[in-house]
């Protein structure tokens, strides 16, 4: 029976069916649900690794030891894992290893929109690109077979729309396969220069074989229109070909005329030269429709073919159906042509997207920190003290937005501490007296520790706030080494952050509750003034964490309310940016706008109560 699955669910299912025994990942949108789903299959040992580099190293170990392995991460995670990846290409695998790279065109939840197919070429490993959930399942299985057959890791590149869209899948059963033999093989697995020199030609040879495989692989297929050549000659139509991949294949199918021939590439590295050149020669004109970079196109142009590509289609952002439609209006289905041909946009158009109804900009609705979020108190204080804040990646990046406005930089996972140290080095100790690095617990474990060692070793005085909310919040509350629970829900040794920080040589380590605004402010001022590195562990759990044995859960309290007789409309409380606090319309004849509380959302955290000088905000009893 067919079931509806997201691409991420289908990846986990495919891995399970293919007999995978080890799955590793670090959470990152849009890849996170792959491991969350994998963890529901008891035959697979799934883990949240501390970061992507470790995830790939554990995966490498598992594959070399003879077990089929799945490693998953978001596109920027591959940057972190690139070091083992390039060497893994040389060592090859033993049992199959597939690396999922979930790219994020359009940057729905990312700091850049890099196109990770370039990693495939740079590391000289095959790249597969599914276009729906069934293909996710099929391609994972095929990738594992290819991995073993060609002794190479295989990259399966997803994009947000493939990961998060649901489509129908026919699930199958698990194929139990025994572990492959493991034996010591120094010239294959110890990459000393002398060994690596012997491996490189093998890698080049492997690429040639993979390119030959690509010529006849079921991954690459042409879809010809249903019409005879006679018909065509009679009509005198030009033949149009489109080469496409991944989700854009689905968009192309949706919007393009049925008379267009398609070459769908499920394997985008290495490319099948003969297949592509035959296709191009069979048509009068050929278009390359690919999201983000001109990856396929560059190769085809390098072979000397003349095609249409990025001079028509954007390199920036998602290549959505409407974008394709407006780039090549002449290739559209007749029913869409009127809607997307600028000249014919008029009152007879079916589409609402016409010039007389150009999209209007409405006030945006950015995500906000949840009611009761522990981070709100932190950024409120940082804003009041007008500090320079070197930020990091997590829910708390939202502290950068109004009205909190308390962040200067956000670069990549773990960057906050190193960036703060660099600022101190360039601008001197005085500047550092008003400078803090802010990093979450999971991000600190991911890659903040090494930068903190740098602060200690190179005599910086950086003050680091570790926001310990006992979860990996932003990606949907995953466990991590600081929560003491695994992805499978087992209790494990919980990393002791204060002890860890002391062990790297930080003498000044303080724990505070951010909701104790006065104490938090005092501690912050004192530590920034100290002539040595300090770490403030700001402790309060995320309001959305699930109950787990290793930690307490914040219990929601009754909502607060505003006694409007006492409210002076000073708006002090609104500086918290709590979505429950709203400004009312002035009463008739009055000017001041008082504040009220949206009781349906308020969790009674009490932060606003302590800010209201006239004590207008009160806790409801009971």
């Amino acid at each position: 029976m067919k079931v509806l699955m997201t691409g991420n669910e289908a990846i986990a299912r495919g891995a399970w069916e293919a007999g995978v025994v080890v799955c590793t990942a670090y959470p990152g949108t849009p890849s996170t649900e792959i491991i969350e789903n994998a963890a529901t299959y008891k035959e697979m040992d799934s883990e949240w690794s501390p970061n992507e580099k470790v995830a790939l190293e554990v995966g490498l170990g598992a594959a070399v030891a003879g077990g089929r392995t799945l490693v998953a991460m978001k596109h920027v995670g591959v940057n972190v894992a690139a070091d083992p990846l390039f060497t893994l290409s040389y060592t090859g695998v033993n049992a199959g290893l597939v690396l999922i790279s979930a790219d994020d065109p359009g940057m729905h939840s990312s700091q850049d929109e890099q196109d990770n197919r370039h990693y495939g070429r740079a590391a000289k490993i095959p790249v597969l690109e599914p276009s729906d959930s069934q293909e996710c399942l099929d391609y994972v299985k095929l990738a594992l077979t290819l991995s073993e057959e060609y002794d190479t890791p295989v990259m399966l590149r997803m994009t947000t729309r493939v990961s998060h869209s649901q489509s129908l899948v026919s699930p199958g059963n698990r194929q139990e396969i025994s572990l492959r033999d493991y034996s010591k093989n120094p010239s294959k697995y110890i990459m000393l220069p002398g060994h690596a020199r012997l491996r490189h030609p093998i890698v080049e040879e492997r690429l040639k074989k993979l390119a030959a495989y690509a010529e006849t692989s079921p991954l690459n297929r042409t879809e010809e229109p249903e019409r005879s050549e006679d018909q065509e000659r009679l009509e005198g139509t030009r033949r149009v070909g489109v080469i496409t991949n991944g989700i854009t294949y689905q968009y192309a199918r949706e919007v393009l005329d049925e008379n267009v021939s398609l070459l769908k590439l499920g394997m985008t590295y290495p490319l099948p030269r003969q297949l592509i050149s035959d296709f191009i020669q069979s048509v009068d004109e050929c278009y390359i429709i690919e999201e983000l970079d001109s990856f396929i196109e560059d190769q085809i142009r390098a072979w000397g073919f003349s095609v249409y590509g990025k001079e028509l289609f954007p390199t920036v952002g998602e290549l959505l159906p409407e974008t394709i439609a407006s780039c090549v209006p002449s290739l559209l289905k007749p029913s869409l042509r009127r809607d997307f041909t600028a000249a014919s946009r008029g009152p007879d158009s079916e589409s609402a997207n016409t010039e007389d109804r150009a999209p209007v900009q409405h006030v945006g609705r950015p995500p906000v920190l949840c009611p009761g979020c522990p981070h709100r108190a932190v950024f409120y204080v940082l804003n009041r003290l007008k500090l320079t804040v070197s930020g990091d990646i997590g829910c708390y990046t939202l502290g950068a937005l109004p009205p909190l406005n308390a962040m200067d930089t956000t670069i990549c996972m773990g960057a906050s501490i190193g960036v703060a140290l660099g600022m101190e080095k360039a601008r001197g100790r005085d500047f550092a007296r008003n400078l803090v690095a802010v990093i979450g617990d999971s991000t600190f474990v991911h890659s903040g520790i090494t930068a903190l060692i740098d602060v200690v070793y190179n005599k910086g005085t950086t003050t680091t706030l570790i926001l310990d909310n006992s979860t990996t919040g932003m990606t949907g509350h995953q466990e991590n080494p600081a929560t003491g629970v695994t992805v499978r829900g087992e209790v494990t040794t919980r990393i002791d952050l204060p002890m860890l920080v002391r062990a790297v040589g930080v003498n000044r380590v303080v724990e505070v509750d951010p909701f104790d605004l006065d104490r938090f402010t005092d501690v912050l001022k004192r530590e920034m003034a100290a002539e040595e590195p300090s770490v403030i562990i700001v402790k309060r759990p995320c309001v959305l964490v699930r109950p787990a044995p290793a930690r307490s859960q914040v219990s929601a309290q009754p909502p607060v309310s505003v006694n409007s007789a006492l409210c002076t409309g000073c708006a002090q409380c609104l500086r918290l940016g709590c979505p429950c606090l709203v400004k009312d319309e002035p009463e008739p004849g009055a000017k001041i706008r008082k504040v009220s509380v949206d009781a349906s959302q308020c969790i009674g955290c009490g932060l606003c109560v302590s800010l209201c000088r006239p004590q207008a905000i009160v806790r409801k009893e009971g």
Binding site: L4, H164, Q166, R253, L574
Partner: protein, 198 residues
């Protein structure tokens, strides 16, 4: 009321994070799947925080290629909130069916006073789509016993415009929501489906 027959049929569900749009799309997808249609659903998730603008796209028919609805191609917009409905109107076909909840939820720039909530949101929806159907889903849900059932009220309204038997909706509803909330949700569905007749 005529039902909408396009193949494939594209429904855009828009609202604010936390309003239950995802559950609504799951029920809708379950219903059309039970009817044997090909179906694709697209939603962007991964930001855990509440309160952002959310959009889910459901497309079904004999064969669906793109999970994404192109601008100007939605057959139905199901709006959980006024401003969000207005924001996504450019995705609707000129003759689309627009169904919207009259609730308004202030976005942060409005809360902080940096912007105002468009006071004429509803007028603008009505002037572009004179046939648009408003519903006070929040009050109806509250009357049924749970403010959270706004999503099911709206599904009830949507069900009037699709040629799918009521039984199928009720079956999927029963299979999806927790048992202790079933009565409330059934009532909410009926309020959305038949409430407008009274």
């Amino acid at each position: 009321m005529d039902t909408i027959q396009n193949d494939p049929l594209s429904i855009l569900i828009v609202g604010v994070g936390g309003q239950g749009t995802i559950l609504a799309s799951r029920i809708l997808a379950g219903v059309v799947l039970r009817k044997g249609y090909d179906v694709k659903v697209s939603e962007i998730h991964g930001m855990a925080q509440r309160g952002g603008s959310v959009v889910t796209q459901v497309r079904f028919g004999s064969k669906v290629a793109s999970p994404i609805i192109a601008q100007g191609q939605a057959d139905i917009i199901l709006g959980f909130e006024k401003l969000e409905t207005l924001r996504w109107l450019p995705y609707a076909r000129r003759n689309a069916t627009v169904l919207y909840n009259t609730q308004s939820i202030n976005p942060m720039p409005v809360v902080t006073g940096a912007a105002v909530y468009p006071p004429d949101a509803e007028d603008r929806i009505q002037s572009e789509f004179p046939q648009a159907v408003p519903i006070d889903a929040l009050s109806l849900a509250q009357k049924c016993g749970a403010a959270k059932a706004v999503n099911v009220v709206l599904l009830g309204l949507l069900s009037r415009f699709l040629s799918i038997e009521e039984d199928v909706w009720l079956d999927i509803l029963r299979e999806t929501v927790p048992e202790r909330l079933l009565d409330v949700n059934n009532a909410a569905f009926q309020a959305g489906r038949n409430g407008l007749l009274v």
